[in-house]
Symmetry: C2
Subunit: 786 residues, 2 copies
């Protein structure tokens, strides 16, 4: 149960960084309003962009007339599909171009959902741009639309895409299935035949919005030599540079993307969206800096979690041993590919990696519909699989009369077991596992033995329930094979300043999680400095080594590992120089407490030199800047495990569910900074509870219009809904493959929460609701009151 | 006579970079007005600073009352000596703190020249700040002033500084001599005794202004965590960071200085001035961003070349062989140390390194006066020594009846000879020398044989003259000993982009000379790329390795060498990866024409891979970013040599001198980019001609007021004065210690010009004027017409 680690003997406490509760270095900049987000950037003569969007879910652009719009004073540039590059581009940052699905056009000649881009205007003010948008005349040829994944795969359904390019190859599609993902082990039919009990259910999980506070914003400054300076709400500056260059058909180095902090992202900025190439093209066309800041409505319609319908069949022996597991998912990717295949692959991987089951099969259909496109979202297919699986564990436990904690303890995968890291191609093995710890300790903390008593509370108005959700996730996308369909490498530069402090440069994006603060702690730990003495520099794609993207719970595990490697190179240089100064063998020198000290000398004055003194001597004697770069790929992932025990109250009159208590147990290996990990766990839980109870982007099945793209009508789980009785604890594990024993957390914090709520409500009301979110209406219906 | 080199066989011409006439990459940004200088920076709520300056040349501040000023709406912060740190600080960037003279205070309690800082105000607008400055009430105790160096060293002269700190040691001064620099070889008295002829003269050289177009400007943004973001017209971002931190008494890493292009500098931005700490202190006090942009008058009074009175005594044999040389200089450093000692040391070094003389002595007195402070200026003591020495060479030639070219050819130092690189401590040896080439070829090009005919032109109104000046300079401040009183190291980072282009990051400042373009060519040459494929990234002190400062004709020789080292590390990585791709030994692979090719295969398709393909494969296979850093000190300097032959017309009625023709011969080793070197030679000549003919900051010897701190009254040598008949040529030398054979040029371009003019005017009018500048008044006086 790791908390802040004590400092080792002889080292002042503030020099012990791993496990220390250090506030984020950017917190003061954010709270004072000093930190500049993309939306704060003002450039002289900057134009504002507005977009003309399709009112139809499926329509070909017959004719488009911008002549009236162009004539409006202040309008500087307009683009339509006629001005835009005609090649399709791909959005995903983590896939090499060779494997990336490409079905987007900078401006398409056919609208595929209500809101798809038809034209874009850059003008001196947003109002002028909006007036110009209104003045564009479009003649649409309305086409029949597929607004539902099952309608979309029915025979004769209107075709949304004829082709999709995958790298340089082109797929000609038969219908609206982008890809079907299949994976499995054993013989599922035989497994079910061998089972003593088989249950099968169909679950639906909703189209949740990522809901970052910051709206998508892009600023592009065109330089006179044709290069573009770009600031963008993006999870990857290098990924954006590459995809934007390919969308525009220009060399990568013509674009320089600047690193900024994000006001949240949760996957909504995981890939390039359609707005970045539009802004860049308008900058090139107008020759002036431009800004495109989406409205809240536009932003909410631009990304979402992939909604899915999931059929799950589970077979078990009487003692609870799982023997067969089969999942079939219909995943709605919306009008464009948008990570749909990769999310579905991962969904299969997460499904197959939760429990030891000899016979498993996963089939995932990735389906185009004429609805707003989905995107990556914290968990990346995991909650979609977790809710059915964890529901089934409870249902099976009930059926077999086994305690739900116990049935999980019998079946969970553990040290040495194989798992699927990111879909069918990537197998890895569990190296550290604290599942037993977190399950048993969590059960005690929540008072699990009260659960049985909650079954059958009769007609009480408020019914209590306790539920458990458990999740498996991986840290990053590493794999043993260097030729991978997912990129997973990072780079860092560490430099010692002449005052003995250090600078760290990494292209990694901090979405608000504090991952860069964690990096500073890792570097400080290697160098024997205080975390506050490691300054994280701002950078851009011109200056920084490649870092793939902030995603997949990889920041600490992958990028942090590479920052550690760079710091170790600097450490070696420091000990070498300390050896020169102290006339000692560098191999005998250790760093700690801000000093380099010859081992075994007890810190005698002539056997110890401060880092500052080394740096100043290096300057004085012109030994050069103490600086190193590391750039490495991850060859492993690290599976991390979480569970959430929740206690809820269900108001049987209103159908409203209140979360009363949360116990969150996490095996994240060594905790680098408890403040930050706790932040992830609190935030992840809120997002999961919203998924379970409230949140769903609703698309009208007749018109294709999004009904609630705003926070008046789309209800998120807010601080008013959040539960203050929230107990966070950690397993006492250490992951050898991670930096200082650390694993990931960002997504796991989210994966298990919805399952816990669904199971707790079932405990309270005796009905297992399978259609998320569990709105009051659905709860009342389950109670037979509607 | 190197011009553009032909491309080697088999490599497309654009891939051969060294010697190629490539336009500066920043030219288009400057000419389109897109490039941002410091003065273009606008920050929200930024305050403007105005400074209250002393009207007295020497006065103690008895009392200062800011109460009325503070009460003016819009005034946000005022500082006086009462608010400022009480420790003295040093200005120089290239000296380690341990050796730096420290006699400046952020705001002194005693004004030492008319214009010295008394208080500073930050307010919402410049007008408000100016009104507040006017409202500050000061009671001065006027002190007697020393307005002339000889007055200042007379007994009983008023004392300007009581103490000067040198690093941590404090000198208690007896009078107004900061330091006396002495150096010598042999036995000068014996040398003069052995001489057949001895001449002795006293020369005065003026207080020239550097005259960059851009005025000094500092923007400081205080961050909520106490750090300062700084943009400044400075020749060294790292030097400024260090000196500013020390002036404020805060750790270096609390300051981040951003790299910008300069609109000229010429040494005026070589050191920190007094304005940077004032701006930083006002930013810290107000908590708001501030800007301090000097007025033209303030800027012109803030720096100048050190004026000097130089007595020179030269002894020679009848055949012209020099046997004894003695120089004594009284150098006026103004009210503060301001590089005065180092300039004087260098002056001695340049003096002693021009000609082979067995017995030499240099004595330089660095004297404080109550006049505006001097500063580093292109040549750094060289023109002050060059004018007397080159005048004497002509005078001696005349006396002995030897041709001036011939007497120089007999005596110049050459390959293998020792020289003093930067004052008495640094001896180096000449490795390449093209003096004979440039002197003999230059004489032919100018038509030297006409010179004799110009002697005695009788009473013609316009008299023609030809003159020669020759100069010696060093490239950078390197030395064999790592413990040096001058820092001379640099760092560079080179990175390959995934499209096969490269990025170069260096903290080096481009003052407008194109030194960064030269770096791009060097990196391109190493990597076999085109210069336009090497992008120079903008950086800051947080992110970049240390680079000491743009000075001392070091950019190409020192920083360029380090950029080459970084590029070579990247080259080695590229050949390693190409070896993997081509299944070949990396040692057999050569880069060129944008490709890596196995030697001896004639570029067969399976034996060659483009850099872009290597980079893309490295991404696809996750081999990491191809990137390397180098940081090294220079252990040698490289002496470079120039000469200028000029032909002038002297109007004997007006005294006006016109430059009719220039022949500039330079031994700069291998020319990296002729366009850039020619630019240096043209600009350096104009600055030298202004020094010889026009330019002098005049300080009233009664009041201490500067009489002409503006371009109406201070006449610089403009494009109207410049000579279009300008013949530039280069010696065919190659310096083994330099990158691709290159040496420096920046200062040499300036050092020889004034001497050439003085000698040409003497040829024309038969009188050798020894008091620069040769204004019409002095010419007429020499002609006996005044």
């Amino acid at each position: 149960m790791t908390e802040t680690l004590p400092a080792p003997a002889g080292v002042p406490a503030e020099y012990r960084n791993i496990g220390r509760r250090v506030p984020k270095f950017d917190a003061v900049h954010k709270t004072t309003g000093h930190l500049k987000f993309v939306g704060d950037i003002q450039l002289p003569r900057m134009l504002e962009i507005k977009i003309l969007r399709s009112p139809h879910p499926h329509a070909r652009i017959r004719r488009i007339d911008t002549s009236k719009a162009v004539a409006i004073p202040g309008v500087k540039a307009i683009i339509t599909h006629e001005d835009a590059p005609s090649h399709p581009y791909g959005r995903e940052f983590a896939l090499p171009p060779e494997y990336m699905p490409r079905d987007n056009f900078v401006i398409p000649d056919k609208a595929r959902y209500v809101g798809d881009v038809v034209a874009a205007v850059a003008a001196t003010t947003p109002d002028v741009a909006a007036r110009a948008v209104a003045a564009i005349e479009v003649e649409y040829e309305k086409l029949p639309a597929s607004l539902d994944p099952f309608a979309a795969i029915a025979s004769g359904a209107p075709r949304i895409h004829d082709t999709v390019a995958w790298g340089e190859e082109v797929d000609h599609l038969d219908g609206n299935v982008l890809r079907t993902v299949s994976m499995g082990v054993g013989d599922v039919e035989q497994g079910f035949a061998d089972a003593d009990v088989v249950i099968e259910n169909t679950f639906t999980v909703p189209k949740q919005q990522q809901s970052p506070m910051e709206r998508r914003c892009i600023v592009v400054d065109p330089l006179p030599d044709g290069r573009l300076e770009v600031w963008c709400t993006t999870q990857s500056i290098h990924g954006l540079r590459h995809n934007l260059a390919r969308a525009l058909g220009i060399p990568y180095s013509r674009i320089n993307v600047h690193q900024t902090f994000l006001g949240g992202a949760f996957g909504a900025r995981l890939d390039m969206n359609v707005d970045e190439p539009i802004a860049a093209l308008l900058a090139l066309k107008s020759g002036l800096p431009v800004r495109l800041q989406l409205t809240r409505e536009e932003d909410m319609m631009s990304t979402s979690r992939h909604p899915a319908t999931v059929r799950l069949k589970t077979g078990a022996k009487r003692d609870g041993t799982l023997v067969a597991h089969e999942m079939e998912a219909h995943v709605d990717t919306g009008a464009y590919a948008c990570s749909g295949e990769w999310v579905t692959k991962c969904m299969g991987g997460w499904f197959m990696s939760m429990y030891r089951v000899a016979h498993q099969r996963f089939t995932g259909h990735v389906i185009y519909t004429n609805t707003p496109p989905a995107a990556g979202f914290r968990g990346f297919g995991n909650p979609q699989a977790n809710v059915p699986v964890e529901s089934h564990m409870d249902l099976l436990a009930d059926r077999l009369g086994i305690d739900p904690v116990e049935i999980r303890l019998r079946n969970y995968i553990r040290e040495g077991d194989a798992y699927y890291a990111q879909g069918p191609n990537v197998v890895d093995y569990i190296k550290s596992c604290g599942v037993e710890q977190i399950l048993t300790s969590g059960a005690k903390r929540i008072g699990w033995d009260r659960r049985a008593g909650f079954a059958g509370q009769g007609d009480r108005k408020i019914r209590k329930g306790i539920g458990l959700g458990r999740a498996f996730h991986t840290s990053g996308c590493g794999q043993a094979n260097e030729v991978s369909d997912i990129l997973e490498y990072a780079g860092s530069v560490v430099k010692i300043n002449e005052d003995g402090t250090a600078n760290l440069t990494t292209a990694l994006i901090d979405m608000g999680t504090g991952n860069l603060m964690g990096h500073a702690q890792i570097v400080a730990e290697v160098l024997g400095l205080r975390a506050e003495d490691v300054l994280v520099s701002s950078t851009d794609t011109d200056s920084s080594p490649y870092d793939v993207v902030t995603h997949a719970s990889r920041s600490t595990y992958v990028s942090g590992m590479v920052a550690k490697l760079a710091a170790e190179k600097v450490r070696d240089r420091l000990t070498e120089l300390a050896g020169r100064i102290l006339d000692a063998d560098p191999g005998d020198i250790v760093l700690g407490g801000g000093r380099a000290t010859v081992r075994g000398t007890g810190g005698a004055a002539d056997a110890s030199v401060s880092i500052e003194e080394i740096a100043r001597t290096a300057q004085m004697r012109q030994w050069g800047t103490i600086m190193a770069e590391a750039s490495e790929r991850a060859v492993t992932t690290a599976s991390h495990f979480t569970c959430k025990f929740v206690e809820v109250s269900v108001d049987t009159e209103t159908g409203h569910v209140t979360v009363d208590r949360v116990v969150a147990g996490s095996d994240v290996g060594q905790v680098i900074n408890p403040v930050l990990v706790e932040g992830q766990i609190h935030g992840g839980a809120a997002q999961a509870f919203g998924y379970a109870l409230l949140e769903e982007i609703q698309v009208d099945r007749e018109t294709g219009r999004t009904l609630n793209p705003d926070y008046l009508n789309y209800k998120i789980f807010t601080s008013r809904d959040a539960c203050r009785d929230f107990d966070v604890f950690f397993a006492d594990t250490y992951e050898d493959s991670g930096p200082f024993g650390a694993k990931g957390i960002g997504e796991s914090a989210n994966n298990d929460g919805a399952s816990a709520i669904v199971n707790a409500v079932a405990n309270a009301i005796g009905v297992h609701i399978k259609d998320l979110p569990l709105t009051p209406e659905k709860v009342l219906r389950a109670l037979g009151k509607l």
